[in-house]
C-alpha cells in the first residue's frame, strides 16, 4: 500500500477499498439521467472487451433544439481512477450519426508534446485527422 493511501489515524484508506471508479460511473449515470435530453444510459464493454465505458444516447431535438444535422448523438464517457498522487484520466466524447465527433479528454497525448493533458479534439469524419 502506498503512503498516500494511509489516513491520519494510521488506518488504511477506506475510499480506495470501496471502489471509487464504480461510484464515479454510478454518479455519472445518475447525473446523465437527470438531463431531459437523455434517452438511455448504458454500460458497454470497451473496444478491447477488457473494460467498460458509459454510453448515453440523446434526443437531438431536445439536446440542440434541432440545430444539429445528425439524427443520432451519443456521448461516450470513460474515467480511469488512480491512487492519491496520480491524476485521474477521463474522456467525454460525443459522436454524431453525421460522422462528426468531438471530445474533451484529460489524458496524455501520444507523441504530441504541445497538446495539453486537458484538451479538446474534433474531426469531421472517422477518416479525418483530429483537430486540437
Amino acid at each position: 500500500m502506498s503512503l498516500g493511501a494511509l489516513l491520519a489515524d494510521g488506518g488504511s484508506d477506506p475510499i480506495g477499498l470501496s471502489g471509487r471508479r464504480g461510484r464515479i460511473f454510478e454518479q455519472l449515470r445518475i447525473n446523465l439521467n437527470h438531463h431531459p435530453a437523455t434517452e438511455t444510459v448504458v454500460v458497454r464493454p470497451t473496444r478491447d472487451q477488457k473494460d467498460r465505458k458509459l454510453v448515453a444516447q440523446f434526443d437531438t431535438q431536445i439536446l440542440v433544439d434541432g440545430l444539429a444535422d445528425a439524427d443520432e448523438v451519443r456521448l461516450e464517457i470513460n474515467w480511469w481512477t488512480h491512487p492519491i498522487g496520480t491524476d485521474d484520466q477521463l474522456k467525454f466524447h460525443c459522436i454524431e450519426s453525421s460522422s462528426y465527433d468531438c471530445g474533451w479528454h484529460r489524458q496524455p497525448h501520444p507523441e504530441e508534446s504541445d497538446i495539453p493533458f486537458d484538451h479538446f479534439q474534433q474531426r469531421a469524419s472517422p477518416e479525418s485527422d483530429y483537430q486540437y
Binding site: P14, I15, G19, E26, K50
Partner: protein, 164 residues
C-alpha cells in the same frame, strides 16, 4: 441539477477525505448548504466524518458502499452470473499480468513513469492499471456476493403465497 444532488455527486466520488468548504466549492453551493447536506448524509451512514488537523472532513462510508455494491450485484444477477463475473475478472487480471509482466497495478504505473517509456505506452499503462484496480474490486465484491448469496436472495424473492 439541484444542489443536494451536486453535493452527493462530489462527496461520493472524492479520492480522499475533504472539508465541507472544499466540497461546497466543487458542488457550487454555499459552505452552509454543503455542511447541512453532508451532516444529513453522515446521519444516514452514507458518509463518514473524521477530524483531520483540526478540520472536519467527509468521505464515503466504506461499509455502506460495500454493502450497497454487494446487495446490488445479488439483486441484479443470478448466482451463476456472479460466478462468471468473478471468473472473467480473474482471467482479465491474469492476462494483464502476463501481457505486461508485472504483479500489480502499482507496478504497471511505475512502468508508465520509467524513463524509456513512450507517451503512448504511458497512456496505455495508466489505463490498464486503472482497469486492473477495477477488476480486483469486482473480484472482491463478487466473492462477497457469492458468500452472502443464499441469505440475501431468500430475502429478495417474493414468497409463493404473495403471487396468488
Amino acid at each position: 441539477m439541484p444542489g443536494v444532488d451536486r453535493v452527493i455527486s462530489v462527496a461520493l466520488t472524492i479520492e480522499q477525505p475533504r472539508t465541507a468548504d472544499w466540497i461546497a466549492e466543487q458542488a457550487a453551493v454555499s459552505p452552509t448548504t454543503a455542511r447541512s447536506h453532508l451532516e444529513r448524509l453522515v446521519d444516514l451512514h452514507i458518509l463518514s466524518a473524521v477530524e483531520q488537523r483540526g478540520a472536519k472532513t467527509y468521505y464515503p462510508d466504506a461499509a455502506y458502499q460495500r454493502f450497497k455494491e454487494v446487495s446490488q450485484l445479488i439483486e441484479e444477477h443470478t448466482r451463476n452470473e456472479i460466478e462468471t463475473i468473478a471468473v472473467t475478472a480473474k482471467e482479465d487480471i491474469e492476462e494483464l499480468r502476463e501481457t505486461y509482466d508485472v504483479e500489480s497495478p502499482d507496478e504497471l504505473r511505475k512502468l508508465a513513469t520509467a524513463e524509456d517509456t513512450s507517451s503512448t505506452e504511458a497512456r496505455e499503462y495508466f489505463k490498464k492499471a486503472s482497469e486492473w484496480d477495477s477488476h480486483l474490486h469486482t473480484v472482491s465484491i463478487a466473492e462477497e456476493a457469492l458468500e452472502r448469496y443464499e441469505k440475501f436472495s431468500d430475502h429478495y424473492q417474493p414468497s409463493v403465497d404473495s403471487a396468488v
